[in-house]
Amino acid sequence: MYSRQILSRLTTSTIRSRCFASTLVLAEQIEGGKLAPVTLNTLTAAAQLKQDIDCVIFGTEKTNETANELKKFTNCNIKKILLAENAGFKGLLSESVTPILLDIQKKNNYTHILGGSSTFAKGVLPRLAALLDVQPISDITAVIDKSQYSRFIYAGNAILKLKSNDPVQIITVRGTAFEAAKQGGGSGEAQIEKVNSTPNNDLSEFVSRQVQQSERPELASARIIFSGGRALKSKENFKLLYDLADLFPGQATVGASRAAVDAGYCANDLQIGQTGKIVAPDLYVAIGISGAIQHIAGMKDSKVIVAINKDADSPIFAIADYGLTGDLFKVLPELTEKLKKK
Protein backbone atom coordinates (compact mmCIF):
# COMPACT_ATOMS: atom_id res chain seq x y z
CA MET A 1 0.00 0.00 0.00
CA TYR A 2 2.70 2.36 1.10
CA SER A 3 4.87 1.69 -1.92
CA ARG A 4 1.91 2.12 -4.23
CA GLN A 5 1.26 5.55 -2.77
CA ILE A 6 4.87 6.54 -3.28
CA LEU A 7 4.75 5.27 -6.84
CA SER A 8 1.70 7.30 -7.70
CA ARG A 9 3.16 10.44 -6.13
CA LEU A 10 6.38 10.00 -8.09
CA THR A 11 4.46 9.62 -11.32
CA THR A 12 2.49 12.79 -10.68
CA SER A 13 5.59 14.84 -9.98
CA THR A 14 7.35 13.57 -13.10
CA ILE A 15 4.39 14.63 -15.21
CA ARG A 16 4.40 17.99 -13.44
CA SER A 17 7.99 18.79 -14.36
CA ARG A 18 7.54 17.78 -17.97
CA CYS A 19 4.52 19.79 -19.01
CA PHE A 20 3.29 21.85 -16.08
CA ALA A 21 3.03 25.46 -17.09
CA SER A 22 3.49 28.02 -14.34
CA THR A 23 4.27 31.63 -13.74
CA LEU A 24 6.83 33.38 -11.57
CA VAL A 25 6.08 36.94 -10.50
CA LEU A 26 8.98 39.16 -9.45
CA ALA A 27 7.26 40.87 -6.51
CA GLU A 28 8.72 44.09 -5.18
CA GLN A 29 9.11 45.79 -1.84
CA ILE A 30 8.99 49.48 -1.08
CA GLU A 31 10.03 51.33 2.06
CA GLY A 32 9.32 49.46 5.26
CA GLY A 33 8.89 46.10 3.59
CA LYS A 34 5.51 46.98 2.12
CA LEU A 35 4.37 45.48 -1.16
CA ALA A 36 5.00 47.79 -4.14
CA PRO A 37 1.76 48.91 -5.85
CA VAL A 38 3.02 47.84 -9.29
CA THR A 39 3.17 44.23 -8.06
CA LEU A 40 -0.62 44.28 -7.70
CA ASN A 41 -1.01 45.27 -11.36
CA THR A 42 1.51 42.58 -12.31
CA LEU A 43 -0.48 39.96 -10.36
CA THR A 44 -3.58 40.82 -12.38
CA ALA A 45 -1.67 40.32 -15.63
CA ALA A 46 -0.19 37.07 -14.30
CA ALA A 47 -3.61 35.80 -13.26
CA GLN A 48 -4.83 36.24 -16.83
CA LEU A 49 -2.41 33.48 -17.88
CA LYS A 50 -4.60 31.14 -15.80
CA GLN A 51 -1.66 29.19 -14.39
CA ASP A 52 -0.28 28.57 -10.92
CA ILE A 53 1.75 31.52 -9.71
CA ASP A 54 4.85 31.57 -7.54
CA CYS A 55 6.27 34.88 -6.34
CA VAL A 56 9.83 35.80 -5.46
CA ILE A 57 10.86 38.72 -3.28
CA PHE A 58 14.41 40.05 -3.17
CA GLY A 59 15.49 42.31 -0.33
CA THR A 60 17.83 42.98 2.55
CA GLU A 61 15.10 42.77 5.20
CA LYS A 62 11.39 42.29 5.95
CA THR A 63 10.71 39.97 2.99
CA ASN A 64 8.53 37.96 5.33
CA GLU A 65 6.34 41.01 5.98
CA THR A 66 6.01 41.60 2.25
CA ALA A 67 5.11 37.93 1.78
CA ASN A 68 2.40 38.16 4.41
CA GLU A 69 0.85 41.04 2.50
CA LEU A 70 1.04 39.00 -0.72
CA LYS A 71 -0.70 36.07 0.94
CA LYS A 72 -3.85 38.19 1.27
CA PHE A 73 -4.38 38.04 -2.50
CA THR A 74 -5.92 34.60 -2.32
CA ASN A 75 -7.80 34.92 -5.61
CA CYS A 76 -4.53 35.14 -7.57
CA ASN A 77 -3.67 31.45 -7.26
CA ILE A 78 -0.30 32.05 -5.59
CA LYS A 79 1.16 28.70 -4.60
CA LYS A 80 4.60 29.62 -3.26
CA ILE A 81 6.36 32.79 -2.18
CA LEU A 82 10.15 32.57 -2.40
CA LEU A 83 12.11 34.85 -0.10
CA ALA A 84 15.58 35.87 -1.18
CA GLU A 85 16.70 37.92 1.80
CA ASN A 86 20.34 38.81 2.25
CA ALA A 87 22.37 41.89 3.14
CA GLY A 88 24.16 41.29 -0.16
CA PHE A 89 21.07 42.46 -2.04
CA LYS A 90 21.67 46.03 -0.95
CA GLY A 91 20.67 48.28 -3.83
CA LEU A 92 19.09 45.27 -5.62
CA LEU A 93 21.92 45.32 -8.15
CA SER A 94 21.15 43.36 -11.32
CA GLU A 95 24.48 41.54 -11.03
CA SER A 96 23.49 40.24 -7.58
CA VAL A 97 19.90 39.35 -8.36
CA THR A 98 20.07 37.84 -11.86
CA PRO A 99 22.24 34.77 -11.12
CA ILE A 100 19.93 33.79 -8.27
CA LEU A 101 16.84 34.31 -10.40
CA LEU A 102 18.52 32.13 -13.04
CA ASP A 103 19.01 29.36 -10.47
CA ILE A 104 15.37 29.61 -9.41
CA GLN A 105 14.30 29.31 -13.05
CA LYS A 106 16.55 26.30 -13.64
CA LYS A 107 15.08 24.53 -10.60
CA ASN A 108 11.43 25.34 -11.33
CA ASN A 109 11.17 25.68 -15.12
CA TYR A 110 8.56 28.41 -15.15
CA THR A 111 6.99 29.04 -18.53
CA HIS A 112 6.36 32.71 -17.77
CA ILE A 113 8.31 35.21 -15.63
CA LEU A 114 6.58 38.55 -15.01
CA GLY A 115 7.67 41.78 -13.38
CA GLY A 116 6.17 45.25 -13.18
CA SER A 117 7.63 47.96 -15.39
CA SER A 118 9.86 49.28 -12.60
CA THR A 119 13.53 50.24 -12.81
CA PHE A 120 14.34 47.08 -10.85
CA ALA A 121 12.51 44.66 -13.15
CA LYS A 122 13.58 46.54 -16.28
CA GLY A 123 17.18 46.10 -15.20
CA VAL A 124 17.00 42.45 -14.18
CA LEU A 125 14.55 40.73 -16.53
CA PRO A 126 16.19 41.53 -19.90
CA ARG A 127 19.55 40.52 -18.42
CA LEU A 128 18.00 37.23 -17.32
CA ALA A 129 16.41 36.75 -20.74
CA ALA A 130 19.80 37.06 -22.45
CA LEU A 131 21.18 34.35 -20.17
CA LEU A 132 18.25 32.11 -21.10
CA ASP A 133 18.57 33.03 -24.79
CA VAL A 134 15.00 34.28 -25.09
CA GLN A 135 13.59 37.57 -26.38
CA PRO A 136 12.10 39.53 -23.47
CA ILE A 137 8.81 41.38 -23.91
CA SER A 138 8.62 44.89 -22.44
CA ASP A 139 5.66 46.79 -21.04
CA ILE A 140 2.76 44.62 -22.15
CA THR A 141 -0.61 46.32 -22.10
CA ALA A 142 -2.71 43.18 -22.57
CA VAL A 143 -2.50 39.42 -22.21
CA ILE A 144 -4.25 37.90 -25.22
CA ASP A 145 -3.36 34.31 -24.39
CA LYS A 146 -0.42 32.33 -23.03
CA SER A 147 1.85 33.45 -25.84
CA GLN A 148 0.25 36.53 -27.32
CA TYR A 149 0.47 40.03 -25.90
CA SER A 150 -0.09 43.65 -26.85
CA ARG A 151 2.32 46.46 -26.23
CA PHE A 152 2.83 50.06 -27.38
CA ILE A 153 5.46 51.12 -29.87
CA TYR A 154 6.31 54.58 -31.25
CA ALA A 155 5.49 56.34 -27.96
CA GLY A 156 2.06 54.73 -27.84
CA ASN A 157 1.08 55.76 -31.35
CA ALA A 158 0.77 52.17 -32.47
CA ILE A 159 -0.20 48.95 -30.73
CA LEU A 160 1.88 45.89 -31.47
CA LYS A 161 0.34 42.46 -31.11
CA LEU A 162 3.02 39.82 -30.80
CA LYS A 163 3.31 36.08 -30.34
CA SER A 164 6.24 34.59 -28.49
CA ASN A 165 7.61 31.18 -29.43
CA ASP A 166 10.07 31.07 -26.57
CA PRO A 167 9.86 28.19 -24.04
CA VAL A 168 10.08 30.71 -21.21
CA GLN A 169 8.47 34.11 -21.74
CA ILE A 170 10.02 36.97 -19.81
CA ILE A 171 7.71 39.92 -19.54
CA THR A 172 7.47 43.33 -17.90
CA VAL A 173 3.97 44.64 -17.33
CA ARG A 174 2.86 48.25 -17.89
CA GLY A 175 1.26 48.83 -14.51
CA THR A 176 -1.34 51.34 -15.65
CA ALA A 177 -2.77 48.88 -18.18
CA PHE A 178 -3.97 46.42 -15.56
CA GLU A 179 -6.22 46.92 -12.53
CA ALA A 180 -4.59 46.31 -9.18
CA ALA A 181 -5.38 42.86 -7.78
CA LYS A 182 -7.85 42.85 -4.91
CA GLN A 183 -7.40 40.99 -1.65
CA GLY A 184 -9.38 37.92 -0.68
CA GLY A 185 -11.95 36.16 -2.82
CA GLY A 186 -10.16 32.83 -2.97
CA SER A 187 -8.96 29.98 -0.85
CA GLY A 188 -5.73 28.20 -0.07
CA GLU A 189 -2.66 29.67 1.50
CA ALA A 190 0.59 30.38 -0.28
CA GLN A 191 3.60 28.54 1.15
CA ILE A 192 6.61 30.58 2.07
CA GLU A 193 10.02 29.21 1.16
CA LYS A 194 13.43 30.69 1.82
CA VAL A 195 15.94 30.89 -1.02
CA ASN A 196 19.27 29.98 0.51
CA SER A 197 21.56 31.60 -2.00
CA THR A 198 24.13 34.21 -1.16
CA PRO A 199 24.69 36.83 -3.82
CA ASN A 200 28.20 36.73 -5.18
CA ASN A 201 28.80 39.97 -7.04
CA ASP A 202 32.23 41.48 -7.49
CA LEU A 203 31.27 43.47 -10.56
CA SER A 204 29.27 46.30 -9.04
CA GLU A 205 28.59 48.06 -5.78
CA PHE A 206 25.78 50.22 -4.48
CA VAL A 207 26.85 53.67 -3.33
CA SER A 208 23.79 55.71 -2.41
CA ARG A 209 20.19 56.47 -3.20
CA GLN A 210 18.31 59.78 -3.27
CA VAL A 211 14.59 59.24 -3.27
CA GLN A 212 12.11 62.07 -2.88
CA GLN A 213 10.34 61.59 0.41
CA SER A 214 6.88 62.98 0.24
CA GLU A 215 3.58 62.80 2.03
CA ARG A 216 1.95 63.01 -1.35
CA PRO A 217 1.22 59.75 -3.17
CA GLU A 218 3.57 58.41 -5.86
CA LEU A 219 2.79 59.48 -9.43
CA ALA A 220 2.19 55.89 -10.46
CA SER A 221 -0.60 55.41 -7.92
CA ALA A 222 -2.03 58.92 -7.30
CA ARG A 223 -5.74 59.34 -7.96
CA ILE A 224 -5.31 62.95 -9.09
CA ILE A 225 -2.34 64.55 -10.83
CA PHE A 226 -1.83 68.26 -11.39
CA SER A 227 0.78 68.47 -14.11
CA GLY A 228 2.68 71.57 -15.16
CA GLY A 229 4.39 72.56 -18.38
CA ARG A 230 6.88 75.18 -19.46
CA ALA A 231 4.21 77.87 -19.22
CA LEU A 232 4.58 77.78 -15.44
CA LYS A 233 7.72 79.86 -16.12
CA SER A 234 9.53 79.19 -12.83
CA LYS A 235 10.24 76.78 -9.98
CA GLU A 236 8.39 79.11 -7.60
CA ASN A 237 5.26 79.00 -9.76
CA PHE A 238 5.07 75.26 -9.36
CA LYS A 239 3.86 76.05 -5.85
CA LEU A 240 0.49 76.82 -7.49
CA LEU A 241 0.25 73.14 -8.38
CA TYR A 242 1.41 71.91 -4.99
CA ASP A 243 -1.24 74.13 -3.34
CA LEU A 244 -3.88 72.48 -5.50
CA ALA A 245 -2.60 68.97 -4.79
CA ASP A 246 -2.55 69.60 -1.06
CA LEU A 247 -6.30 70.27 -1.13
CA PHE A 248 -6.65 66.51 -1.69
CA PRO A 249 -4.34 65.03 0.93
CA GLY A 250 -3.25 61.48 0.23
CA GLN A 251 -4.90 61.51 -3.19
CA ALA A 252 -3.22 64.11 -5.35
CA THR A 253 0.29 64.87 -6.43
CA VAL A 254 2.22 66.98 -8.93
CA GLY A 255 3.72 65.97 -12.27
CA ALA A 256 5.41 67.80 -15.12
CA SER A 257 6.17 67.78 -18.80
CA ARG A 258 9.69 67.24 -20.03
CA ALA A 259 9.93 70.92 -21.01
CA ALA A 260 9.28 72.01 -17.43
CA VAL A 261 11.85 69.55 -16.08
CA ASP A 262 14.45 70.58 -18.67
CA ALA A 263 13.86 74.23 -17.75
CA GLY A 264 14.70 73.36 -14.16
CA TYR A 265 11.27 74.13 -12.70
CA CYS A 266 11.08 70.81 -10.89
CA ALA A 267 12.89 67.55 -10.24
CA ASN A 268 13.49 64.91 -12.94
CA ASP A 269 11.25 62.31 -11.40
CA LEU A 270 8.14 64.44 -11.91
CA GLN A 271 8.44 63.98 -15.67
CA ILE A 272 5.51 62.25 -17.28
CA GLY A 273 5.87 60.92 -20.79
CA GLN A 274 7.35 58.33 -23.14
CA THR A 275 10.73 58.54 -21.47
CA GLY A 276 9.47 59.45 -18.01
CA LYS A 277 6.66 58.09 -15.89
CA ILE A 278 3.59 56.42 -17.28
CA VAL A 279 0.50 57.37 -15.29
CA ALA A 280 -3.22 56.67 -15.43
CA PRO A 281 -4.91 58.56 -12.61
CA ASP A 282 -8.65 59.09 -12.22
CA LEU A 283 -8.07 62.77 -12.97
CA TYR A 284 -5.18 64.32 -14.91
CA VAL A 285 -5.08 68.12 -15.02
CA ALA A 286 -2.61 69.36 -17.64
CA ILE A 287 -1.69 72.95 -16.87
CA GLY A 288 0.26 75.00 -19.40
CA ILE A 289 1.16 71.80 -21.27
CA SER A 290 0.93 71.92 -25.05
CA GLY A 291 0.45 68.17 -25.52
CA ALA A 292 3.46 66.86 -27.44
CA ILE A 293 3.13 63.22 -28.58
CA GLN A 294 5.79 62.13 -26.13
CA HIS A 295 3.95 63.67 -23.17
CA ILE A 296 0.61 62.21 -24.19
CA ALA A 297 2.26 58.79 -24.35
CA GLY A 298 2.69 58.99 -20.61
CA MET A 299 -0.82 60.02 -19.56
CA LYS A 300 -3.35 59.06 -22.23
CA ASP A 301 -4.78 56.22 -20.13
CA SER A 302 -5.98 58.70 -17.51
CA LYS A 303 -9.69 58.27 -16.82
CA VAL A 304 -10.54 61.99 -17.09
CA ILE A 305 -8.25 64.57 -18.69
CA VAL A 306 -8.60 68.29 -18.08
CA ALA A 307 -6.48 70.83 -19.95
CA ILE A 308 -5.83 74.44 -19.02
CA ASN A 309 -3.92 76.39 -21.65
CA LYS A 310 -3.81 79.93 -23.04
CA ASP A 311 -3.53 78.63 -26.61
CA ALA A 312 -6.79 77.18 -27.89
CA ASP A 313 -4.93 75.35 -30.66
CA SER A 314 -2.77 73.28 -28.33
CA PRO A 315 -2.81 69.59 -29.24
CA ILE A 316 -3.65 68.75 -25.61
CA PHE A 317 -7.23 69.91 -26.16
CA ALA A 318 -7.72 67.13 -28.73
CA ILE A 319 -7.39 64.48 -26.08
CA ALA A 320 -8.85 66.37 -23.11
CA ASP A 321 -12.32 65.53 -21.81
CA TYR A 322 -12.63 69.08 -20.49
CA GLY A 323 -10.71 72.10 -21.71
CA LEU A 324 -10.32 75.60 -20.40
CA THR A 325 -8.70 78.22 -22.60
CA GLY A 326 -7.27 80.75 -20.25
CA ASP A 327 -4.26 82.16 -18.46
CA LEU A 328 -3.18 79.62 -15.87
CA PHE A 329 -1.95 82.40 -13.58
CA LYS A 330 -5.53 83.69 -13.37
CA VAL A 331 -7.27 80.31 -13.50
CA LEU A 332 -5.27 78.44 -10.87
CA PRO A 333 -5.73 80.86 -7.98
CA GLU A 334 -9.45 81.09 -8.79
CA LEU A 335 -9.73 77.30 -8.95
CA THR A 336 -7.86 76.90 -5.67
CA GLU A 337 -10.15 79.40 -3.94
CA LYS A 338 -13.30 77.69 -5.23
CA LEU A 339 -12.01 74.27 -4.15
CA LYS A 340 -11.07 75.57 -0.71
CA LYS A 341 -14.62 76.78 -0.19
CA LYS A 342 -15.97 73.30 -0.92
Partner: protein
Protein backbone atom coordinates in the same frame (compact mmCIF):
# COMPACT_ATOMS: atom_id res chain seq x y z
CA UNK B 1 45.26 53.84 -19.53
CA UNK B 2 42.65 55.55 -21.70
CA UNK B 3 39.67 53.35 -22.45
CA UNK B 4 38.10 52.29 -25.72
CA UNK B 5 34.37 52.75 -26.20
CA UNK B 6 31.83 51.06 -28.46
CA UNK B 7 28.72 53.19 -29.01
CA UNK B 8 25.57 51.73 -30.51
CA UNK B 9 23.60 53.97 -32.85
CA UNK B 10 20.22 53.08 -34.30
CA UNK B 11 18.53 54.61 -37.32
CA UNK B 12 14.90 55.17 -36.33
CA UNK B 13 11.96 57.18 -37.61
CA UNK B 14 12.49 60.80 -36.53
CA UNK B 15 10.82 61.68 -33.22
CA UNK B 16 8.75 64.50 -34.78
CA UNK B 17 7.18 62.36 -37.48
CA UNK B 18 3.55 61.34 -37.09
CA UNK B 19 3.76 57.62 -37.81
CA UNK B 20 1.25 55.71 -39.88
CA UNK B 21 0.33 52.06 -39.54
CA UNK B 22 0.23 50.24 -42.90
CA UNK B 23 -3.30 49.47 -44.15
CA UNK B 24 -2.66 45.71 -43.87
CA UNK B 25 -1.47 46.25 -40.28
CA UNK B 26 1.77 44.41 -41.02
CA UNK B 27 3.87 47.26 -39.70
CA UNK B 28 4.52 50.96 -39.68
CA UNK B 29 5.15 52.93 -42.89
CA UNK B 30 8.89 53.59 -43.16
CA UNK B 31 9.32 54.23 -46.92
CA UNK B 32 9.98 57.87 -47.66
CA UNK B 33 9.70 58.79 -43.98
CA UNK B 34 12.36 60.91 -42.30
CA UNK B 35 14.76 58.86 -40.20
CA UNK B 36 17.44 60.06 -37.78
CA UNK B 37 19.76 58.75 -35.13
CA UNK B 38 17.76 57.58 -32.13
CA UNK B 39 17.84 60.56 -29.71
CA UNK B 40 19.13 58.45 -26.82
CA UNK B 41 21.97 57.22 -29.02
CA UNK B 42 22.88 60.86 -29.78
CA UNK B 43 23.26 61.31 -26.04
CA UNK B 44 25.39 58.14 -25.85
CA UNK B 45 27.64 59.38 -28.70
CA UNK B 46 27.96 62.79 -27.01
CA UNK B 47 29.03 61.14 -23.76
CA UNK B 48 31.64 59.04 -25.55
CA UNK B 49 33.05 62.09 -27.33
CA UNK B 50 33.21 64.04 -24.08
CA UNK B 51 35.14 61.18 -22.49
CA UNK B 52 37.56 61.37 -25.40
CA UNK B 53 37.89 65.14 -24.98
CA UNK B 54 38.65 64.61 -21.31
CA UNK B 55 41.29 62.09 -22.42
CA UNK B 56 39.54 59.36 -20.43
CA UNK B 57 38.88 57.54 -23.71
CA UNK B 58 41.34 57.09 -26.55
CA UNK B 59 39.01 55.65 -29.17
CA UNK B 60 35.30 55.77 -29.91
CA UNK B 61 33.86 53.18 -32.28
CA UNK B 62 30.30 53.56 -33.51
CA UNK B 63 28.26 50.50 -34.48
CA UNK B 64 24.92 50.10 -36.22
CA UNK B 65 23.03 46.98 -37.30
CA UNK B 66 20.73 47.20 -40.30
CA UNK B 67 20.29 47.98 -43.97
CA UNK B 68 22.64 50.15 -46.09
CA UNK B 69 20.86 53.33 -44.92
CA UNK B 70 22.43 52.82 -41.48
CA UNK B 71 25.58 54.22 -42.97
CA UNK B 72 23.96 57.69 -42.83
CA UNK B 73 23.63 57.28 -39.09
CA UNK B 74 27.18 56.01 -38.79
CA UNK B 75 28.47 58.97 -40.82
CA UNK B 76 26.68 61.29 -38.41
CA UNK B 77 28.47 59.54 -35.53
CA UNK B 78 31.79 60.02 -37.33
CA UNK B 79 30.99 63.68 -37.93
CA UNK B 80 30.28 64.07 -34.22
CA UNK B 81 33.72 62.72 -33.40
CA UNK B 82 33.71 58.92 -33.47
CA UNK B 83 37.00 57.48 -34.73
CA UNK B 84 35.66 54.46 -36.56
CA UNK B 85 32.30 53.12 -37.58
CA UNK B 86 31.24 49.51 -37.99
CA UNK B 87 28.20 48.60 -40.04
CA UNK B 88 26.77 45.17 -39.38
CA UNK B 89 24.72 44.53 -42.47
CA UNK B 90 21.26 43.15 -41.87
CA UNK B 91 19.01 43.73 -44.85
CA UNK B 92 15.48 43.32 -46.09
CA UNK B 93 13.32 40.65 -44.50
CA UNK B 94 15.95 39.91 -41.88
CA UNK B 95 15.91 43.52 -40.77
CA UNK B 96 12.13 43.53 -40.47
CA UNK B 97 12.32 40.71 -37.96
CA UNK B 98 15.53 41.80 -36.24
CA UNK B 99 14.95 41.98 -32.50
CA UNK B 100 16.93 43.17 -29.49
CA UNK B 101 18.16 39.67 -28.58
CA UNK B 102 19.89 39.28 -31.95
CA UNK B 103 21.18 42.87 -31.88
CA UNK B 104 22.61 42.28 -28.40
CA UNK B 105 24.45 39.21 -29.64
CA UNK B 106 25.91 41.22 -32.54
CA UNK B 107 27.00 44.08 -30.30
CA UNK B 108 28.43 41.71 -27.68
CA UNK B 109 30.44 39.87 -30.34
CA UNK B 110 31.87 43.12 -31.72
CA UNK B 111 32.60 44.41 -28.21
CA UNK B 112 34.63 41.26 -27.55
CA UNK B 113 36.35 41.35 -30.92
CA UNK B 114 37.30 45.01 -30.56
CA UNK B 115 38.29 44.44 -26.93
CA UNK B 116 36.53 47.59 -25.71
CA UNK B 117 36.27 48.71 -22.09
CA UNK B 118 32.86 50.29 -22.32
CA UNK B 119 29.70 49.77 -24.37
CA UNK B 120 27.52 52.90 -24.43
CA UNK B 121 23.96 52.64 -25.71
CA UNK B 122 20.82 54.73 -25.58
CA UNK B 123 18.46 53.46 -22.88
CA UNK B 124 15.80 52.74 -25.47
CA UNK B 125 14.99 53.30 -29.13
CA UNK B 126 11.98 55.50 -29.75
CA UNK B 127 10.55 53.16 -32.36
CA UNK B 128 10.14 49.88 -30.50
CA UNK B 129 10.52 51.39 -26.98
CA UNK B 130 12.02 48.08 -25.82
CA UNK B 131 14.62 49.23 -23.30
CA UNK B 132 16.42 45.84 -23.36
CA UNK B 133 19.55 45.87 -25.51
CA UNK B 134 21.97 47.35 -22.96
CA UNK B 135 20.89 44.92 -20.26
CA UNK B 136 21.14 41.97 -22.64
CA UNK B 137 24.59 42.91 -23.95
CA UNK B 138 25.77 43.09 -20.34
CA UNK B 139 24.21 39.71 -19.53
CA UNK B 140 25.77 38.03 -22.58
CA UNK B 141 29.21 39.41 -21.76
CA UNK B 142 28.83 38.88 -17.99
CA UNK B 143 29.71 42.55 -17.58
CA UNK B 144 28.10 44.88 -15.04
CA UNK B 145 25.41 47.23 -16.28
CA UNK B 146 24.50 50.79 -15.32
CA UNK B 147 21.26 51.60 -17.10
CA UNK B 148 19.37 54.95 -17.20
CA UNK B 149 22.59 56.88 -16.53
CA UNK B 150 22.33 60.60 -15.83
CA UNK B 151 25.97 61.11 -14.84
CA UNK B 152 29.11 59.09 -15.58
CA UNK B 153 32.54 59.41 -13.95
CA UNK B 154 35.32 57.08 -14.96
CA UNK B 155 38.32 56.60 -12.71
CA UNK B 156 40.68 53.73 -11.90
CA UNK B 157 39.05 51.19 -14.20
CA UNK B 158 35.64 51.82 -12.61
CA UNK B 159 32.62 53.86 -13.62
CA UNK B 160 30.65 55.71 -10.97
CA UNK B 161 27.20 56.22 -12.42
CA UNK B 162 24.25 58.16 -11.15
CA UNK B 163 21.12 56.61 -12.57
CA UNK B 164 17.48 57.62 -12.71
CA UNK B 165 15.23 55.27 -10.80
CA UNK B 166 11.58 55.30 -9.78
CA UNK B 167 11.17 58.10 -7.26
CA UNK B 168 14.62 59.63 -7.60
CA UNK B 169 18.16 58.62 -8.39
CA UNK B 170 20.86 56.29 -7.13
CA UNK B 171 24.61 56.01 -7.55
CA UNK B 172 26.39 52.74 -8.25
CA UNK B 173 29.97 51.86 -9.08
CA UNK B 174 30.73 49.29 -11.75
CA UNK B 175 34.02 47.69 -12.73
CA UNK B 176 35.14 48.10 -16.34
CA UNK B 177 34.48 46.61 -18.80
CA UNK B 178 30.82 47.55 -18.43
CA UNK B 179 27.66 48.52 -20.30
CA UNK B 180 26.10 51.93 -19.66
CA UNK B 181 22.82 53.11 -21.17
CA UNK B 182 22.14 56.82 -21.55
CA UNK B 183 19.06 58.47 -20.09
CA UNK B 184 17.67 61.82 -21.18
CA UNK B 185 19.59 64.02 -18.79
CA UNK B 186 23.04 62.53 -19.20
CA UNK B 187 24.03 65.43 -21.43
CA UNK B 188 22.87 67.86 -24.11
CA UNK B 189 24.19 66.55 -27.46
CA UNK B 190 26.03 68.97 -29.73
CA UNK B 191 24.32 69.75 -33.07
CA UNK B 192 21.29 67.82 -31.80
CA UNK B 193 18.14 67.74 -33.93
CA UNK B 194 15.89 68.17 -30.90
Amino acid sequence: MAIRILVGVKRAIDYAVKIQVKSDKSGVVTEGVKHSMNPFDEIAVEEAIRLKEKKVAQEVIAISCGPPQCQETLRTALALGADRAIHVEVAGKDYETLQPLAISKLIAAVAKKENVDLVLLGKLAIDDDSNQTGQMVAGLLSWPQAVFASKVDIKDKKAEVMREIDGGSETIRVKLPAVITADLRLNQPRFANL
